[in-house]
Symmetry: C2
Subunit: 368 residues, 2 copies
C-alpha cells in the first residue's frame, strides 16, 4: 500500500477504540496462514472473525467513539475487507507493542485530539462481554479526567501458567486498583498461590489512556523511541510521507509496552474485570474447548460441512474446505481447507508449529 493511514472517521469522537491487529502466526494452520493470522479467522460466535467481534464489542460503549485498527501494512487490505468502516493505521514493519501504541497515540492526538483511547488486541475471544464494556466505560471516564495509564486485569478462573499476571494493590477511584507489580508467566505452584491470594489478575493486554498521557510515559521510559513516533505519528496523516515513515520505522528497536513502559511508569492502575469469558485462543486445543463449551458439551463439534460416525470428542473445522467425515475416531481436531488438511490429536495442537517447519523445509511455502 502507498497510504499508511486510511481515514474513515466521521466526526469528532469522545473516545477512540484502537484495535491492535498486527499479530502474525500460524498456530491455527491450515486455517491461518502467514498472511491471514488468527484475528482474521471466523472463530467468534455466529461466524464472525475475531477482529469483527472485537470491533462489535464496543457498540455498547457510552461515549461516541471511532474505531482505528493498527495493523501490518501487508494486512491492511484484510482489515478493510472485514471492518470497512474502521480507519486503518498501517505499520511499515512490526516493532512490538510499545512502538505500535506510541505511533497510534501520536496519530490519534494529531487527528482526534487528546480523547481517551481504549486499546485492545484483535485476536482474543471474549464472550458475555457486557460487564467488560461497563469497565471500559468507567476506565475511559477516569482516563479522560486523570493522568493515568489504565489496564484491565481479569479475575483468574484457574491457576493458568500461560499468562502474565498483575499484582493489584489499594483500591482507588472508580474501582481502579494501584498496580504493585507486573509478573511474568508463573509456574503451576506460583499460579495456585496467585489464585488463592485474590490479588493477582491476568494481564490481558488491554489499555486505557489519553494519548498525551501515554506519550509522556513513553518520553520518560523510552527516550530513543519518543522522537521517532512523535514525528511519524504526525507525518503518517500525509500520504506523500509514507516512504519517510517507513524509513524512520526501520530505526525503531522492538519492545513490548509491558516491559518498555508499564512496568516503569508510576501512574499505572488496573481495572479488575470479571463476569465474562476471555481467552487468547492460543491453539486449536484452546479453540476446541471454547467450541465444545459453546455447543453445550463434550460431544463432537463438527459444523455444517462435516459429520461423525461412531466418533467421540472430535472437533472439525471445515467451512470453505472439503467436507469431513469421521469414522470410529476419538478426540481429534480436524481442519480442512482447500489446499491442506490437519488431523491432530487433542492436546497436541502446539505441535502444529512442527508442521510449519516441515512445510518450509520441503519448500511448500505457499501452504504456510
Amino acid at each position: 500500500m502507498d497510504r499508511l493511514w486510511i481515514d474513515n472517521a466521521k466526526d469528532s469522537p469522545e473516545a477512540v477504540v484502537l484495535i491492535m491487529a498486527g499479530g502474525s502466526g500460524t498456530r491455527f494452520w491450515p486455517l491461518s496462514r502467514t498472511q491471514r493470522p488468527k484475528q482474521f479467522l471466523p472463530l467468534a460466535a455466529g461466524g464472525a472473525t475475531l477482529i469483527q467481534a472485537t470491533a462489535r464489542r464496543f457498540s455498547g460503549l457510552r461515549r461516541k467513539h471511532t474505531v482505528v485498527v493498527v495493523t501490518a501494512a501487508s494486512q491492511a487490505r484484510l482489515v478493510a475487507e472485514q471492518l470497512p468502516q474502521a480507519s486503518i493505521l498501517a505499520e511499515p514493519e512490526p516493532k512490538n507493542t510499545a512502538p505500535c501504541l506510541a505511533y497510534a497515540a501520536r496519530l490519534i492526538l494529531e487527528r482526534f485530539g487528546d480523547v481517551p483511547v481504549v486499546a485492545v488486541p484483535a485476536d482474543h475471544l471474549i464472550e458475555q462481554d457486557d460487564k467488560l464494556v461497563e469497565v471500559f466505560d468507567s476506565a475511559l471516564d477516569l482516563a479522560d479526567q486523570d493522568a493515568i495509564l489504565a489496564t484491565i486485569g481479569i479475575a483468574p478462573t484457574g491457576p493458568e501458567t500461560g499468562f502474565g499476571y498483575i499484582k493489584a494493590g489499594a483500591v482507588g477511584k472508580a474501582g481502579a486498583r494501584a498496580v504493585e507489580q507486573f509478573v511474568e508467566k508463573p509456574d503451576r505452584a506460583t499460579a495456585e498461590e496467585y489464585l488463592r491470594s485474590g490479588n493477582y489478575l491476568w494481564n490481558a493486554g488491554m489499555f486505557i489512556w489519553r494519548p498525551s498521557v501515554f506519550l509522556q510515559a513513553v518520553k520518560a521510559t523510552l527516550p530513543e523511541l519518543f522522537p521517532i513516533v512523535d514525528k511519524v505519528g504526525k507525518e503518517v496523516i500525509n500520504a506523500e510521507r509514507a516512504g519517510e515513515v517507513a524509513s524512520q520505522f526501520k530505526q525503531i528497536t522492538p519492545i513490548s509496552v509491558d516491559h518498555g513502559v508499564m512496568e516503569k511508569a508510576d501512574n499505572v492502575v488496573v481495572f479488575p474485570g470479571s463476569g465474562f469469558s476471555w481467552s487468547d485462543v492460543g491453539s486449536w486445543d484452546a479453540w476446541s474447548e471454547i467450541a465444545s463449551t459453546r455447543a453445550g458439551g463434550p460431544a463432537n463439534v463438527v459444523g455444517d460441512n462435516a459429520f461423525a460416525v461412531d466418533s467421540n470428542g472430535c472437533m472439525v473445522s471445515s467451512e470453505g474446505g472439503p467436507l469431513v467425515a469421521l469414522v470410529g475416531v476419538e478426540d481429534l481436531i480436524v481442519v480442512s481447507t482447500k489446499d491442506a488438511v490437519l488431523v491432530c490429536k487433542k492436546g497436541d495442537s502446539q505441535q502444529v508449529k512442527k508442521v510449519i517447519d516441515l512445510l518450509r523445509e520441503r519448500g511448500k511455502t505457499d501452504l504456510v
Copy 2:
C-alpha cells in the same frame, strides 16, 4: 453413449483377454464415487489404476491376444481414458456376471471366432503375478483343445471368511483339477478346516473357456437367458442396434455365473494358482495393509502430498486432494480429495458405507 461396442482390435487374435469392469460401489469413498468405482482408482503399484494393472498383467501371455473390457455404459468413457487401446463392450444395465459373460462370449464369437477367452475382474490387486500368467497360458491351451469351463483357484494363505471356496478333486490334464463343489463364504472354523485339508481354493472369479463352450453351458443352465444374449451379442456390433440391445437387456434376470452356470455344469475344472499375492481390496483397511506391506513395514504410509508428526501406523491417500498433515495420531486412515475428506480408525473402514448413507440422507448426492 450411442455405441455399445467400440472396436479397437487390430488383427485376428489367438486369445481374448476379457476384463470385467462393471462393478460399482463406494467402499473407497471419498476416492471412489458411484461413477468412479474401485477399478478406476490408482491402487496398483506405481500409481496405475487397478484396471490398468489388470490389462498390463497379460503382456507376458504366450498367445497373441486382444483386450476387451465389458463395462457399464456409464463407465465406458473412463475405460477409454484409462485403456485407450482396449475394445469396449458396454452393458446397457448391470445384470450380474452370468449375463455379462454370456453377452461378451457371444460378441467375441461373432467378432473373433471361437478363440479361448480368459475373463478376469478389473478390480483385484495382484502382485508378483508371473506365476499367474503361466497358469493362464496353460489354461488357455487346454481350453482351446477341450470343452472345459476352467476357473482359477487360489491356494489359501489363511482361513479367510470373506471369499467363496472351490473344493478341488482329482488332478487331470495340464495340472487342472476336477471341481467337486463351489462353496459359499465359510465361518471361521470351517475356513480353518478348509485350510488344513489342502483341497479348498479361493474362488477368485477368473475364468477360461472358448465362447462356444461357455454359451453351450448357458443354454443348458439358463435357458431363458441364452436366446437373449445370442441375439444381443451379435447385434451389438452394429451401432444402429444399440437401442434394441438396451431394450432386450431389460428382460434379463440378474444372476451370478457361479450360481447360474458353474455350480451346475459338469465340465468345470480348476487351475490352482499360487506364488503371487492376490487381494480383492474390499476396503480401505485391505488397501492399507497392502500399502503398508509394499512400503516395507507398519510405519506411516503417507505418499508425497502428506506427512506425519509424532504419528504411527497411519495411512494417507491424498494425491489430487489437499495436503494432509498428521499430528500425534495413531492407526488412522485418512483420504483427502478436492471435495471430501475421510478420517477413519483402522479396522473401521467397513463403516464407510454409513457415511454414504448419511450423505444421501442429507442430499449431498454430488459427493456420493
